[in-house]
């Protein structure tokens, strides 16, 4: 019974998708643990409890010297959090490099992510936005392709948000910026880099939430199956 399976997602896309998921979740949890030791954010080169913050997060801290308004101190989790944060960052960067390099060579971005010029017209964009705002269930054909908003969102995440969060992360490293001072100077200082790193995290978490909502709306089982096994919605029928 020779049956041609039409793959919705290539092996590379599936592998790098889940490696990115794994490293992103580890980075998120450990990043928040690190923030707990100093939930204050500054702008410019320096910042500490003796300087005015740009903003504070109203949570307790794992350090008694940080004025939080809470009368208790959380347990210090920075050691393993930092170890795991940087190990996960390596996984994310290496996965991202693999994905981007192979993606360019195989035409993945051109074929699957670059929106057509026609789709970028105001009326088509408006139409897509309205469909999304109405929470319309996507048509079956969309299970085999991405709509224009989806393409733009993925391109934004892949080519702007992830490079920016890696850059702002590196800009906090004292050894890295000793060799590449422009990496931090362009951002306005080391504390600015830390603040931007945190704000970019929030944007990426928002993306993750919307991404998950869309997956549920589109059909959790079929979308998960496509991203795990590669099989699309009609894969059981011969093509």
């Amino acid at each position: 019974m020779a049956q041609t399976l039409r793959l919705r997602h290539s092996f590379l896309v599936r592998l790098t998708h889940w490696l990115t998921t794994l490293s992103f979740l580890a980075l998120l949890v450990t990043g928040l643990e690190i923030v707990v030791s100093h939930p204050r954010f500054y702008w410019g080169e320096i910042g500490n409890v003796n300087t005015a913050p740009l903003f504070k997060i109203p949570i307790p801290s794992s350090r008694s010297m940080v004025p939080t308004g809470y009368h208790y101190v959380l347990a210090d989790q920075n050691g393993w959090s930092r170890y795991l944060h940087f190990q996960s960052a390596w996984l994310l960067v290496l996965t991202g490099l693999l994905y981007v390099v192979v993606g360019f060579f195989t035409g993945h971005f051109r074929r699957n992510l670059l929106p057509s010029l026609a789709d970028l017209s105001l009326s088509r964009l408006g139409q897509s936005i309205v469909q999304h705002l109405r929470f319309e269930r996507p048509r079956p054909a969309e299970g085999w392709s991405y709509n224009v908003l989806q393409r733009l969102a993925y391109l934004l995440v892949i080519f702007i948000l992830f490079p920016m969060i890696i850059w702002t992360g590196l800009a906090m490293s004292p050894s890295f910026v000793s060799a590449v001072p422009a990496a931090v100077n362009l951002l306005g200082g080391q504390q600015s880099a830390r603040t931007l790193h945190f704000l970019l995290t929030i944007v990426l978490v928002l993306f993750l939430l919307i991404h998950l909502i869309m997956v549920v709306l589109a059909g959790f089982r079929s979308r998960m199956r496509a991203m795990i096994t590669g099989r699309g919605a009609e894969s059981l029928e011969p093509v």
């Binding site: 960052a89 390596w90 060799a179």
Partner: protein, 252 residues
């Protein structure tokens, strides 16, 4: 599913063998070039080794960013330290005249330096940022004796790979490789901004490692030991930091 052909089997096993031996060779090379940190074991060892090796390959001789005098923090934050035991107060009352730093290990001339001995070395300073792993920072002018000059005087043996340094606080000891120990910005700091180094900031003597986080910048330095191997110090992980769960290399 088609059966695995003999050709595929041979190709796969050759690739696996080549990959495995490649890894072994890479590990040997990395070891001989000093790219493996002492806390490379354990579940976070891979990430730490990648970080340390990348930094040693790419940023070996770079200088930490220096700032202008106007950027010096007006209100630097002195991080809290464990209470200093009684002998410290006595030394402090005597203006630290009896403070000693013993240099030993793999050196030709083990020496005990006083603060005035250290002030006899050429004085160097830099205006640099110190960052705590928690996320806060300040900028100060750090003034002291370049560690490389001190090490030159005691005659460091060629096989030395690490410097172990200890504090008056017995739980706080650290080590750095010779890249950082001989780095021109690494100072035995005895003054900060316009005055002697205040006790809160590590006075009378603080190790200033300009490209690493605050916890490598140990306060109240009392001894330096040169060694070719960190295995015999503490639990063999390199310093107190990994023993407490923190990375040995804090340059990130």
């Amino acid at each position: 599913m088609s059966k695995l052909s003999r050709r595929q089997l041979i190709t796969t096993s050759l690739a696996v063998t080549a990959g495995a031996s490649g890894l072994v060779v890479a590990a040997k090379l990395a070891e001989s070039y000093g790219l493996i940190p002492p806390d490379s074991g354990g579940i976070y060892g891979a990430g730490e080794t990648l970080t340390y090796a990348a930094q040693r390959l790419l940023t070996r001789h770079s200088l930490a960013r220096e700032f202008s005098r106007s950027q010096i923090s007006k209100n630097p934050f002195a991080n809290e330290v464990a209470a200093l035991a009684e002998p410290f107060q006595r030394l402090q009352q005597a203006g630290f005249a009896d403070w000693r730093v013993n240099v030993d290990g793999l050196v030709a001339y083990p020496t005990s330096f006083s603060l005035s001995d250290l002030k006899g070395f050429p004085c160097r300073s830099h205006i640099t940022m110190i960052q705590c792993e928690e996320g806060w920072s300040y900028i100060a002018e750090w003034i002291g004796a370049p560690l490389s000059h001190v090490l030159e005087q005691v005659g460091v043996f060629p096989q030395v790979r690490y410097l172990v340094y200890r504090s008056f606080q017995p739980d706080w000891w650290e080590s750095i490789d010779m890249v950082d120990a001989l780095h021109p910005q690494t100072l035995l700091t005895y003054a900060m901004n316009d005055s002697n180094l205040p006790v809160g900031f590590g006075g009378p003597l603080r190790m200033r490692v300009s490209r690493q986080l605050g916890y490598k910048n140990v306060k109240y330095i009392t001894s330096l030991t040169l060694t070719d191997n960190l295995k015999s110090f503490g639990k063999g992980l390199g310093s107190a930091a990994p023993e407490a769960g923190y990375a040995w290399f804090a340059g990130l």
